[in-house]
């Protein structure tokens, strides 16, 4: 090895200067967290909800399989026979007591897998700050979805509008028995307020990003990747065009939504004014 090679080897540390200087122009990865949130992973495991059928009946049948499978031993269920005159669930029994202790829950989703009626699923909500232990134990009153099928917003939970949508992604992404042929097949019942949720595509490419809410996430992830880590179709000029199309589409939708909202507001105002005049 000659002197020139030695010098070249020694001067390799200059690459650090180039890299750090380049980083001045790269987008920042920091999020202003409480003000601005990252899009959540489509299959994020957050806190549970107890779902209801589209007619308002509870899905839970009080079978206690979730409590049995729970490795953290955080679920407590007691079933009771349905009262014949006003049944709670469309079966023989229903979950009379349902408690989950979130100081113990590890969000492994085994309860969701065990549930025979898709009664318990996990939402993407995870930002709680309870100030006493009693609040950490969610009872049935807190877990059951409300009359629109949405999780209940508890005072110590930090939500933004839309955070409660696109939930139970895990269930919808998994084919029963792990059979690849069942990927994308609907194997679950409808939910109150949402109907039958669309399946989430696996790796077959038959995915509906729009409906499952994964598009924004993938875009965000790609903005921070190096060129070689991005799929060929999203790279370079082709990718730029693709991104431009996507963002144009999104802006168009936003614009449409704003216009619709303004029109509605105007209509409401006009109605109020005419109502007040009459």
């Amino acid at each position: 090895m000659g002197l020139a090679d030695d010098v070249k080897q020694e001067l390799k540390f200059l690459g650090g200067f180039k890299l750090t200087f380049e980083h001045l122009t790269r987008p920042r990865v920091t999020r202003q967290y409480p003000d601005e949130k990252k899009p959540k992973q489509p299959r994020q495991h957050g806190r549970h909800v107890l779902n209801r059928y589209e007619d308002g009946m509870e899905k839970c049948i009080g079978c206690e399989l979730c409590a049995g499978v729970c490795p953290a031993d955080c679920i407590y269920v007691r079933g009771l026979d349905n009262p014949p005159d006003h049944p709670v669930s469309p079966g023989e029994r229903y979950g009379y007591v349902y408690e989950i202790n979130y100081l113990r829950c590890i969000h492994c989703d085994l309860c969701v897998e065990a549930c025979p009626t898709e009664a318990i699923t996990e939402s993407k909500l995870f930002e709680f700050s309870f100030t006493n232990r009693a609040d950490a134990i969610y009872t049935k009153r807190e877990l059951v979805v409300d009359d629109e099928g949405r999780p209940q917003h508890l005072p110590w939970e930090d939500w933004r509008p839309g955070d409660d949508q696109h939930t139970s992604g895990w269930m919808r992404a998994t084919a029963p028995g792990g059979q690849a042929a069942y990927e994308g097949e609907v194997q679950w019942s409808g939910e109150l307020g949402y109907g039958v949720r669309r399946p989430e595509g696996g790796q077959s490419g038959r995915r509906d990003d729009q409906a499952t809410g994964t598009l924004a996430l993938r875009e965000v992830l790609e903005a921070h990747l190096l060129d070689e880590d991005i799929p060929l179709a999203h790279r370079g000029m082709r990718g730029r065009i693709w991104r431009a199309q996507v963002s144009a589409e999104r802006h168009r939708r936003k614009f449409e939504a704003t216009r619709r909202r303004l029109a509605e507001a105007r209509a409401v105002r006009r109605r109020n004014k005419s109502g007040g005049g009459a």
């Binding site: 750090t20 980083h23 790269r26 920042r28 990865v29």
Partner: protein, 416 residues
């Protein structure tokens, strides 16, 4: 009121120095001096505040982060918030500490940092009410010696802080610090001597004036770049800035020499450290980049300001470079640090001093000395190479020390 100063001191001041003292020392002189001191003090403190903010912001930019952004616009008041917080923290003195020295040490590192800045020429000569004075706090005839002396005293601050804490990590940190600072002071001093040689004076003002008007008269170019890089490396080590920040290597020594300090005393160390960064950048600019020298357009009312702006711009470049160094380079190991200091910087600076001295003394005959130095350096390098090859060769009698690639055909000592 005209002869307050001792005649000898007055003479020393007037032979070569601030024209402010040319007509004796009256009330005007006192006012100007006090204002200069106060302005320099305030500007230094504020610039330290901004420097800390600048460093945190820039390094977070270089790491794709945002950095402080809560206190004030763009987080500029973050340092002030930290300072206020530190001020109100409990001031602890460890049981094992030598109480007097423990309390003295922060000031020993802060005061030199402040004093070094006094000899830095910030701008040109200003005339106010018939009195001409220099835009620099003091212009002693020994200017650059004051810098060297103060930077040596700053070592005491670090050393005594570690020693008086009565704790192991601070002691280790301060031992490293004093060894490092003393090693690098040699290269630092020798590269300063080249500047002194070519200027023919120790006064910082004279150094700046000798570099004025043309940028190729800057010592950076006049002395052939090498002393500049030597000086810059040496002061980086002297400042214990990355990549030479072994004294406060967080991963090894907790906080280094100031581990046991808290509250306002810790803040003083922090202040001194960043103030040193600023003053040393100013010293580099003064010695090698012509200080406030730069093109001044013919605008009578602004001509005072242009040199100051040039000076600040040059200092800013160095502040940027310091942050950049911190972002780009990993910390050196202790033996690497010593190798760099003793085996490279000191011989190179000595050789370069020889060359410069040759040219200064003998004009173009200095080429002879230059050639001689280069030949001697080549011989030395060859000797080093041969020595290293012999140490690493297969027939080496003693097992080689240090890290080196193991040859595949040679079994390791344990496997034999």
């Amino acid at each position: 009121m005209s002869a307050v100063l001792h005649p000898a001191l007055l003479g020393a001041l007037t032979t070569h120095g601030d024209p402010l003292y040319n007509h004796g020392v009256g009330w005007f002189v006192w006012v100007v001096v006090v204002i200069k001191v106060l302005v320099a003090f305030a500007v230094l403190l504020v610039s330290v505040m901004l420097m800390i903010w600048f460093e945190r912001k820039l390094i977070s930019d270089m790491q794709s982060r945002i950095g402080p952004n809560r206190a004030g616009p763009w987080g500029m008041l973050q340092t002030m918030a930290d300072g206020i917080k530190l001020f109100f923290k409990e001031d602890l003195v460890p049981d094992q500490a030598d109480r007097f020295v423990f309390k003295l040490a922060p000031y020993l590192s802060l005061v030199p940092a402040l004093l070094i800045f006094t000899v830095v020429p910030v701008g040109g000569i200003v005339t106010l009410d018939g009195h001409a004075f220099e835009l620099q706090v003091a212009d002693p005839p020994i200017g650059i010696l004051l810098v060297l002396a103060m930077s040596s005293i700053a070592v005491y601050g670090v050393m005594l802080a570690g020693w008086s804490s009565g704790s192991k990590y601070p002691l280790l940190g301060s031992v490293r610090a004093s060894a490092q600072m003393i090693s690098y002071e040699a290269a630092l001093g020798i590269s300063v001597v080249t500047v002194v040689l070519i200027t023919g004076s120790l006064s910082t003002r004279a150094m700046v004036e000798s570099q004025a008007t043309n940028f190729w008269d800057w010592n950076l170019i006049r002395l052939g770049f090498v002393p500049f890089f030597l000086f810059f490396t040496a002061i980086t080590a002297e400042l214990t800035r990355p990549p030479f920040d072994l004294t406060e290597a967080e991963s090894e020594l907790v906080g280094g020499y100031h581990t046991e300090y808290s509250s306002i005393r810790f803040a003083l160390f922090f202040l001194a450290e960043f103030m040193n960064v600023i003053t040393m950048s100013a010293i580099v600019v003064t010695l090698f980049l012509g200080g406030p020298d730069g093109p001044v357009p013919h605008l009578p009312s602004f001509s005072i300001w242009f040199p100051i702006v040039w000076f600040l711009a040059k200092v800013m470049i160095f502040l940027f470079v310091y942050v950049w160094l911190r972002a780009a380079l990993p910390r050196l190991r202790y033996d690497q640090l010593m190798t760099l200091g003793w085996k490279y910087l000191i011989p190179i600076s000595l050789g370069w001093l020889m060359i410069v001295a040759g040219f200064v003394v003998a004009g173009w005959w200095g080429i002879g000395i230059a050639v001689g130095t280069v030949i001697a350096a080549g011989l030395l390098l060859r000797a080093f190479t041969i020595g290293r090859e012999r140490v690493n060769a297969d027939e080496a009698v003693l097992p080689p020390l240090g890290r080196r690639p193991q040859s595949p055909e040679r079994p390791t000592a344990g496997g034999a």
